[in-house]
């Protein structure tokens, strides 16, 4: 085998490794989530559920693009929603989803989450990973990864659009529910009306 041939193989291998390596990290998105977690961590220190819920709501309003999540949760039906339905649905979704976040984060009392890295799905779509700070091997949450899906809009403006724990994503699960409710009620705008009615019943309006 000639040296040149070996070299070529090495170069190809290096190229393949480059191509196969996960997408690059995104420092700005990591900073964005880090800032959010700093605020969240302050909230997590409180044992008082009411205070925590209030804090989470404030954070959700500040960092989460609720309208985007709301439309995503409709799946293919997002293209069929009327303007009237939209103006009823969006605020209901915000209230509903906020309580879902409040419940999901209820377990982290006294814990702190820190950013551990990120992966670009595209320049606009970044997943930032976080872990419990200082978790020792064998601890309850030692292996837990909490992921934050960050969307970068026009002019670099960032927002969180989904949160996942150990590979289970909230918005993905919400879409599953909502599509099922819409489909079971005849689909289309009729199904969306049914969904809005059920959401109203859930958030007590």
């Amino acid at each position: 085998m000639s040296l040149r041939f070996t070299r070529r193989i090495a170069a190809l291998a290096a190229l393949a490794a480059l191509a196969a390596s996960p997408a690059r990290a995104d420092a700005a998105a990591e900073l964005f989530v880090g800032k959010m977690l700093d605020e969240a961590n302050a909230i997590f220190q409180s044992e008082d559920r009411a205070a925590r819920d209030k804090g989470v709501e404030r954070l959700v309003d500040k960092y989460v693009d609720m309208n985007r999540v709301a439309l995503f949760a409709l799946g293919q039906y997002a293209r069929q929603i009327t303007d009237d339905q939209k103006s009823a649905y969006l605020p209901l979704f915000r209230r509903y989803s906020t309580t879902v976040y409040q419940d999901a984060l209820a377990d982290y009392s006294g814990q702190r989450l820190i950013v551990t890295g990120s992966v670009d799905r595209s320049a606009k779509d970044i997943v930032v990973a976080s872990k419990i700070e200082g978790a020792k091997p064998g601890d309850k949450f030692a292996e837990l990864i909490v992921s934050w899906r960050v969307y970068r809009g026009e002019a670099g403006w960032m927002s969180v659009v989904d949160a996942g724990a150990d590979g289970i994503w909230l918005a993905v699960e919400q879409q599953s529910q909502f599509k099922s409710v819409i489909a079971d009620n005849g689909g289309g705008t009729k199904g969306i009306d049914a969904l809005i009615a059920e959401l109203k019943a859930k958030v007590g309006n």
């Binding site: 020792k136 064998g138 993905v172 879409q175 409710v181």
Partner: protein, 281 residues
């Protein structure tokens, strides 16, 4: 008559284990479970054949042509859960403390070692097979028969393997989602895997009376022990969700996917939340 005496406890134990299956997986074992294939190229073919025959798999990887049957089973299992498992789990919680419960979960997980090891090997995951073996040796001795997870404290984290995961790694698509009577969320592939798991458990092949009792005891203990930590969560999901059936289906599908990938996060096949929504917004 003897047949009935034998099958009744099995049915009872299986009923108990169902709600556990519903609630995902045990924290003592690796966080649970899923459905979508690891190697999309290898599994697409099977999946698309099935999909073409019935209906499309949706963007989140759920394919549920048997929804009518599944929903009926979901209802049945929930009724069994409410009558048998929840009261049993609450009583269990009342008479024990958390270190005791963690001990039992550790013990039961440790007893799963043969299934884990077999499937580590079938998937050619030799490093993980080594971890499984090391965990078993350490925990069975220093961990007092498996009650204390010493290995995890030493940095050898637990993981769980089953034959459904092995089939997935071998390139078999999940097939339709399947909600099994008594066993809970599954798929055609994972349900098949479950049968193999039962048959490859050493205890299954010993037919003495003590072995029978040990089997029933383990079924019952597993069901209650792994249902107990999820009492509040399952209640919460049922209360919050507009469609608990769809929620549990999604949790199972998502977590099973991650379990098959041996805990590695796969962000590639997340559904799009970008451009298409820009147009609507």
């Amino acid at each position: 008559m003897r047949g009935w005496i034998i099958s009744a406890p099995i049915a009872f134990a299986a009923a108990l284990s169902s709600a556990f299956a519903q609630s995902g997986d045990a924290s003592a074992i690796a966080p649970t479970a899923s459905e979508a294939p690891v190697d999309p190229a290898a599994t697409d073919e099977t999946a698309s054949e099935l999909a073409a025959s019935v209906e499309e798999t949706d963007a989140t990887g759920i394919h549920d042509p048997l929804e009518g049957f599944n929903r009926a089973m979901f209802k049945t299992n929930n009724a069994i859960d409410a009558v048998l498992l929840v009261p049993a789990a609450k009583t269990y919680r009342f008479v024990t403390n958390e270190p005791m419960r963690q001990g039992l979960r550790n013990f039961l997980s440790n007893a799963q070692m043969p299934t884990n090891l077999l499937n580590d090997l079938l998937q050619a995951e030799f490093e993980r097979a080594g971890e499984t073996t090391a965990r078993f040796l350490i925990n069975s001795t220093l961990g007092i028969g498996g009650l204390i997870d010493v290995a995890a404290k030493w940095g050898i984290a637990p993981h769980s393997e089953d034959f459904g995961q092995t089939l997935a790694v071998w390139g078999i698509g999940s097939g339709p989602y399947l909600y099994l009577p008594l066993f809970g969320p599954s798929s055609v592939r994972d349900g098949t895997g479950r049968i193999v798991d039962i048959a490859t458990d050493p205890l299954f092949w010993i037919s003495t009376d003590p072995a029978q009792y040990a089997r029933y005891a383990r079924f019952g203990a597993t069901a209650v022990s792994f249902r107990e930590p999820y009492l509040e969560q399952v209640e919460d999901i049922k209360e919050k969700s507009l469609d608990p059936y769809a929620s549990f289906r999604s949790y199972y599908t998502q977590s099973r996917k991650r379990q098959i990938a041996n805990g590695r996060e796969d962000y590639e096949d997340l559904p799009e939340m970008g451009d298409e929504l820009d147009e609507i917004e």
